[in-house]
Every structure is written in structure tokens, then in C-alpha cells.
């Protein structure tokens, strides 16, 4: 039947896709979406282990993460909009002010 391994592999796959998205994609909104994907992959992981060990702590922690992800997305989008107003761009390559 379905063992813990199936859930972990799914989580890993999602995590990996998320990381590749963060590192590779140009558009910062896509990067934000990828970050969400990472967080949700972690959520799946936590819930799977909580079902496995019968401890509710994992599920509680997943709720925290969802809340945090939402707040973070809001702040992130706010930053992107502020940046766009100044630099007219949403591409990560062109956000190179930290170079100096």
C-alpha cells in the first residue's frame, strides 16, 4: 500500500522543483511561487511524519508554516511592487544593486 516513502519522495520532488525554481528562474514572482512550493513540500513532509508517529505536533507546525508562508508572500509581493516602481523590472538578473 502507500508507505511513508511515497510521501517523502513526493515531498522531495516538490522541494527539488522549488529549489530549482528559486535558483534558476528569472522572474521574481515565479521565484516567490517556487518558495511557496518549497514551503508546501515541507508541509507534506511534516504531516506525513505526524501520521506515521501519531504525534499531532507535526500538523500543528504545518499550520504555523502555512501562516508564515502567507505573510511572507504578502511582504514579498509588497517588496516586488516597490522595487518595480523604482526599477521598472521584475527580472532577477536586473536586480544587481548589491553588486556595489
Amino acid at each position: 500500500m502507500l508507505s511513508i516513502t511515497h510521501y517523502l519522495v513526493l515531498s522531495l520532488a516538490l522541494f527539488t522543483i522549488g529549489v530549482i525554481g528559486v535558483v534558476t528562474r528569472r522572474n521574481v514572482i515565479i521565484i516567490l511561487m517556487s518558495i511557496e512550493l518549497i514551503l508546501n513540500a515541507v508541509n507534506i513532509n511534516l504531516v506525513a511524519f505526524s501520521r506515521l508517529f501519531g504525534l499531532v505536533g507535526g500538523q500543528v507546525f504545518a499550520i504555523f508554516i502555512i501562516t508564515d508562508a502567507a505573510a511572507e508572500a504578502a511582504v514579498g509581493l509588497g517588496i516586488i511592487i516597490a522595487f518595480f516602481r523604482n526599477r521598472e523590472t521584475v527580472l532577477a538578473d536586473e536586480m544587481d544593486l548589491l553588486k556595489w
Partner: protein
């Protein structure tokens, strides 16, 4: 410390008075009035004379064998050890010391006495000249140097005076320094003198090395202790070297050429320095060291022959001179030759005797000529004189006295001193006597030629000069009268024993003369061998020749004044040779003077070509080459290292640059890479539980 009496204890003050006078002149002279200058400078010499007279007076009261006084002022050159030529060790210690003995006494009285008279005369003669204080300053400096020379108790201090008189001679000959001929004459005198000085110094060194002392009083004992035989080569060497010094200072062949030119100086200078005092320094020096000279018959012969040759040589040139002072200059050279002739044949006292009498009448003659020139408004050519006897009577009469004295007519001074020399010369060699005898005849002739052309005959004086002819003032004629008196009686102190005199002079000087072997013969002894008759004959021959010379001069210059010109025209070759002074100056110029100048020019071009060219410029070139190399090193090596280190840093920084691209995705990639690395590390160390 026993005292010898005030004056003898204070002989060191004798040179001090004129030294003080000279110093005052050099410090303040410019601001002083002529009267003050005269008082100081004439007064200083007068004071020196008084002290000298006092000292000699005290000396005379001492016993003849102990007439020697020494005063050491201070330790001048402190002691040091040195090796003598015979290997032994001695201490070299030179004091600034003065001494007085019979020889000195004669010299110091002559120098201060005649010097004082000339100083007085100069007050009148130089009264209207510029540089009055300078003249008297130099004159006093000369007196100081001469007195130091005479009174020195050792050769080194004598050399100080020796050089000092040479310097003053230069300063005074070139007194009218704006005149080129005067400056040249001063230079000539000093340079020729210097050549002689080299000989003096070498002789001094040789004495020091051989005898171990240069103190006059110790040289005699040192010679005795060294057991030097008569004819010892080292003594000959010393004597000849010293004689070279004497030829320079006392104007003998070959170093006499400066004296005629020295007439460029004011006449009192010619009288003092070049007649009475400085030129006698050579005679004094040889007499002072007679102990050495007598040990070398060779050197004595050289001295005698040089003296005789110089005497006749100079007299021949005096025959044709037309400048009144030049005649006297050549006459001085000739008379100095007489003195050396006397020294060379061993008649040292006779030589010094002639020195003294010559000082009297030569100073008189020079001062008299100065008086004539003064009266003639500066004219010195005798061809433009004549018939001055009645116009300047005192000058003329005293001048005549001096001329009779120099001609050797008894009983004036010149006869006794010349005769003493000629007598001793005959004993040594009749040839020397003949040379001296002929010279005496020439002397009488050219001196009376001078007198006749100047004072007698028809007047050839130029018209505008004639109006100003006047006798000189008392300040100038008084010294003439005093010197004339001494020219008459000055020889009586040496009245020879062969003429029933007591020859006080020779006896006074005798202790200073070394005696190796037989003593001088007494009159009785001489009479017994017929030598006395010979003496009388020689005296008669001298007087007769002198009278002949005078007569010839009368005939040629008063009775028939055209005779000289006709004679000169007939023997024009000889006349030209004489009037051009045997072309000696020209020969010296070609052989020595111009060759020295050539050497100077050669060294100059060496300096410019080699030293400046190769040396200085070469060094400059070398510096530039080195700087090029330095530049290359700096550019390629030093800068290269700097550049390499910079490039290295640049190269190393390339990877570091990637850390800060500013691209956030890049930073994110680094985070992931780090995470993977950590996981790898932990997964390899810690195994996963697999179920």
C-alpha cells in the same frame, strides 16, 4: 741669573722697536699725519740704534775672549728627537734667541746707524709722495727683519729674517706699484732671491743632519767633536749650498740680475736695502759660518773666484750706464764681489771691514744721487746733467767725498778695506789680485765718470728743469754730511799694522774667526821674508791705478767730452755688448723664464684636456651611463615586481568577484550548494535508519 748690564740683557728690544713701528703703521698708518708717522718710525730706529750702541759699549767692556751674550726669548720649535747622518740621536730644539758678539756688533751698529740716517733722509725725500705711512711701515718692517737676521742665535731664526728682508725688498722695490716696470722688478727680485733661499735651506738641513745643531755657538764645538778633516766632502756640500743662498741675497753671479732692476724703487730704498744692509746679509752669513767654509778649500775657492768674477763683470757694465742709479747698482754688485773675494781667500775680517766702509760711502752715494734727482725734478739720465757743482754744493761736495772713498784713495775709508782684501788676495793667488786690481781701476774710472758727467763740464740740463734746481733741505743734507764724515774716518779703525796702525777692527773680530792651523803673520815676521815690501808695492799699485782711472775720467769727460762717443763708435761691438748687459737677462728669459712659462701653459692644457676632459667630463659620462642602467633596473625589475604582485592580486580576485555579483539568484544557488555539501557530509557520517 747673572746680568750683563741693561743693554746687553735687552738686546731683544733692538728689533722690537721697528717691529712696533711697522705694526702701528699697518694698523693705524692711514689715519696718521705725516709728522706723526715720521716721529714713530724714525724714532723707533733711533731707539734701536741707542740700544745697539749701548749693548756694544757694554760688550767692549768685557774681556775679549768672553765677548758673547745670548738672550732666549721663548722656546720656538719645541724639542723632538731626530737621527743625524752618522746615526746618533739628538734633540731638535729651536729657541727664539738673540745673541751679540763682535761680528754682530759691527753689523748691528752699521744697520741701525746707517738705517737711522736713511730714515731721517726719507722724511725729506718722500715727504710729498703718496703712501708715506706705507713706505715707513715697510722700512721699519725691513729693519725688524734685518735685525732679526743679524742678532739671531741660530740658523732657522736667521732664515726668518732672511726671508723677511726678501719680502720687504719686494714690497719696497714695487712701492710705485702702479708702474708696471716697478712691479716686474719687485717680482724679479723676490723670485731670484727665492732660488738662492732654496740653497740656504738645503745647507741648513745638511748642517742639522751632520752636526746635530743649528745654533751658531754650538756649531764650532760640534765640528771639533765630529773630527771633520779639512776638505771633507760634506763640509764642501754645505758651504756651496749656503753660498748659493748668499749669491741670491748678495747679488753675485749668477743671481745678481735683480739688483739693477731694483733701482725702480725709491732712492732711500736703494740706499738702505741694496747698498748698506740687505745685500750684505750674504757676507754676514758666510762670515758667521766661517768655521764650515774654512774646512772646504774648494768652496773657499768657489767663493773667491765668483766674487772676483762678479766684481770685474759688474764693473765692466757700470762703464757704459747712463742712469745715475744704475751705475751705483752695478758698482754695488762689484763691491760685493770684492767682499766675497776677501772671504774666499780667508780674509774674513777684511771682507767685513769692506762691508762696513762700503755701507758708509755707498749709502752716501745713493742718498746723494737721490738729492741730485730731487734737484733735477726726477731726471736720472746723466747725459742730461752737468755743471751742478755750484748749484747744489752740499750734495756735490759730499758726493765727491764718497766717490774718492770708493775709488780707494787714502786716507779715506775705501782704501784701507780694499787694500786689506787685495793684500790677502795676492797671497792666495796673484791672478785674483790682478782681477781685483783692474776692477779697482775701473771703479775709479766709472765713478769719476759719474761725478764729471753730473757735476762738472758743460750743462746739458733741459731748460725747464734748470729753473727748479735747488739744494735739498737740511733733513736730507745732514745725513749726507754725517755719512761723508764716516767715509773719511771710518777706515781708520782698521789702520793696518804694516802702516804703523793697530788694526783695532781685525783684533776686535778675530775671536769670531775659526783658526785651523797657522795664525796670521805678524808685521815683523812678514818683514823678515820680504812680504812686507810686497804689501807696500801692492798698495802703491792700487793707488796709482786709481789715480790713472781718475785722470782718464777727467780727460774723457771734462777736457774732451767727444772722446767717449768716438771710442764707443770705434768699438761698437764691445760697447753694445756692455750696454746690453751681456744680454744676460735675455739669455735667462730664453733658458729659464720662458721655459717655466711654457711648463705652466703645458700644465694648463693638461688640466683642461685630461683632468677636465677625461676626468671631470668622463666622470659625468660615467654617471650618465650608470643612471641609464639604474633606470632600466628600476623600470623592468623593480616596477616589474610591483606589477607582478598587482597582477597576482588581480588574478586571485577573479573568483572572489563572483561572490558578489549582486544577483540574488546567484546567492540563492550558493545557499543550495552549501546545503548539499552539509547534507553530503552528514549522510556519509550518519546512516539513515532504513526500515
Amino acid at each position: 741669573m747673572a746680568t750683563n748690564g741693561y743693554f746687553l740683557d735687552h738686546i731683544w728690544m733692538i728689533p722690537l722697536f721697528p717691529a712696533a713701528g711697522a705694526l702701528l703703521m699697518f694698523l693705524f698708518g692711514r689715519k696718521l699725519k705725516n709728522a706723526v708717522v715720521s716721529t714713530i718710525c724714525v724714532g723707533s730706529v733711533a731707539a734701536a740704534f741707542i740700544f745697539a750702541a749701548g749693548a756694544v759699549w757694554s760688550l767692549l767692556h768685557m774681556l775679549p775672549e768672553s765677548r758673547f751674550v745670548q738672550v732666549i726669548l721663548f722656546d720656538w720649535v719645541p724639542a723632538g728627537s731626530m737621527h743625524m747622518t752618522n746615526g746618533s740621536l739628538m734633540r731638535f730644539d729651536v729657541p727664539w734667541g738673540l745673541m751679540l758678539d763682535p761680528l754682530n756688533s759691527v753689523m748691528v751698529l752699521v744697520v741701525t746707524g746707517v738705517g737711522m740716517l736713511i730714515h731721517i733722509y726719507s722724511v725729506g725725500y718722500m715727504g710729498h709722495e703718496g703712501g708715506y705711512y706705507r713706505f715707513f711701515g715697510y722700512l721699519n718692517l725691513f729693519m725688524f727683519s734685518m735685525l732679526t737676521l743679524i742678532l739671531a742665535n741660530n740658523m732657522l731664526l736667521m732664515f726668518v729674517g732672511w726671508e723677511g728682508v726678501g719680502l720687504c725688498s719686494y714690497l719696497l722695490i714695487g712701492f710705485y706699484f702702479l708702474k708696471k716696470s716697478a712691479g716686474d722688478a719687485g717680482k724679479k727680485a723676490f723670485i731670484v732671491n727665492r732660488i738662492g733661499d732654496a740653497g740656504f735651506l738645503l745647507g741648513l738641513f745638511l748642517i742639522l743632519g751632520t752636526l746635530g745643531t743649528i745654533n751658531f755657538h754650538e756649531i764650532g764645538p760640534a765640528i771639533a767633536a765630529g773630527h771633520f778633516p779639512v776638505g771633507a766632502p760634506v763640509m764642501t756640500a754645505i758651504a756651496l749650498l749656503l753660498f748659493v743662498g748668499a749669491t741670491g741675497k748678495s747679488a753675485q753671479i749668477p743671481l745678481y740680475v735683480w739688483l739693477p732692476d731694483a733701482m725702480e724703487g725709491p732712492t732711500p730704498v736703494s740706499a738702505l736695502i741694496h747698498a748698506a744692509t740687505m745685500v750684505t746679509a750674504g757676507v754676514y752669513m758666510v762670515t758667521r759660518l766661517n768655521a764650515i767654509f774654512q774646512l772646504s778649500p774648494t768652496a773657499m775657492d768657489v767663493v773667491a773666484i765668483t766674487g772676483a768674477a762678479t766684481a770685474i763683470f759688474a764693473a765692466s757694465m757700470a762703464l757704459v750706464q747712463n742712469d745715475i742709479k744704475r751705475v751705483l747698482a752695478y758698482s754695488t754688485i762689484s763691491q760685493l764681489g770684492y767682499m766675497f773675494l776677501g772671504l774666499g781667500v780667508g780674509a774674513f775680517t777684511a771682507g767685513v771691514f769692506h762691508l762696513m766702509t762700503h755701507a758708509f760711502f755707498k749709502a752716501l752715494l745713493f742718498l746723494g744721487s737721490g738729492s741730485v734727482i730731487h734737484a733735477m725734478s726726477g731726471e736720472q739720465d746723466m747725459r742730461k746733467m752737468g755743471a751742478l757743482w755750484h748749484k747744489i754744493p752740499t750734495t756735490a761736495r759730499t758726493f765727491l767725498v764718497g766717490t774718492i772713498a770708493i775709488a780707494g784713495i787714502p786716507p779715506l775709508a775705501g782704501f784701507f778695506s780694499k787694500d786689506a782684501i787685495l793684500g790677502s788676495a795676492y797671497e792666495r793667488s796673484p791672478i785674483l789680485w790682478v782681477v781685483g786690481w783692474v776692477t779697482a781701476g775701473m771703479t775709479a774710472f766709472y765713478m769719476f765718470r759719474l761725478v764729471n758727467m753730473t757735476f762738472f763740464g758743460k750743462s746739458r740740463v733741459e731748460h725747464d728743469v734748470e729753473h727748479h734746481i735747488h739744494e735739498s733741505p737740511l733733513v736730507m743734507t745732514a745725513p749726507l754730511l754725517i755719512l761723508a764724515l764716516f767715509s773719511i774716518i771710518g777706515g781708520w779703525i782698521g789702520w793696518p799694522e804694516s802702516l804703523w796702525g793697530s788694526d783695532h777692527f781685525a783684533h776686535f773680530l778675530d775671536p769670531v774667526i775659526a783658526h785651523y792651523g797657522e795664525q796670521g803673520a805678524s808685521v815683523a815676521e812678514k818683514a823678515s821674508r820680504g812680504a812686507l815690501t810686497m804689501e807696500y808695492l801692492l798698495m802703491l799699485a792700487s793707488v796709482l791705478l786709481a789715480v790713472t782711472g781718475i785722470a782718464l775720467a777727467y780727460s774723457w769727460y771734462i777736457k774732451d767730452p767727444t772722446r767717449p762717443e768716438r771710442f764707443a763708435a770705434r768699438f761698437s761691438g764691445a760697447y753694445n755688448l756692455l750696454s746690453h748687459k751681456y744680454y744676460v737677462d735675455e739669455i735667462y728669459d730664453a733658458l729659464f723664464v720662458n721655459r717655466t712659462k711654457d711648463l705652466g701653459l703645458a700644465l694648463g692644457s693638461f688640466d683642461r684636456g685630461v683632468i677636465d676632459g677625461a676626468g671631470v667630463n668622463g666622470v659625468g659620462l660615467l654617471t650618465r651611463v650608470i643612471s641609464r642602467i639604474s633606470m632600466w633596473w628600476d623600470k623592468w625589475i623593480v616596477d616589474g615586481l610591483v606589477n607582478i604582485s598587482a597582477r597576482l592580486v588581480g588574478a586571485l580576485s577573479i573568483p572572489a568577484r563572483w561572490l558578489q555579483t549582486g544577483r540574488v539568484s546567484g546567492y540563492a544557488a550558493m545557499i543550495v550548494a552549501g546545503l548539499v555539501a552539509l547534507l553530503w557530509y552528514f549522510l556519509h557520517l550518519v546512516r539513515l535508519p532504513v526500515h
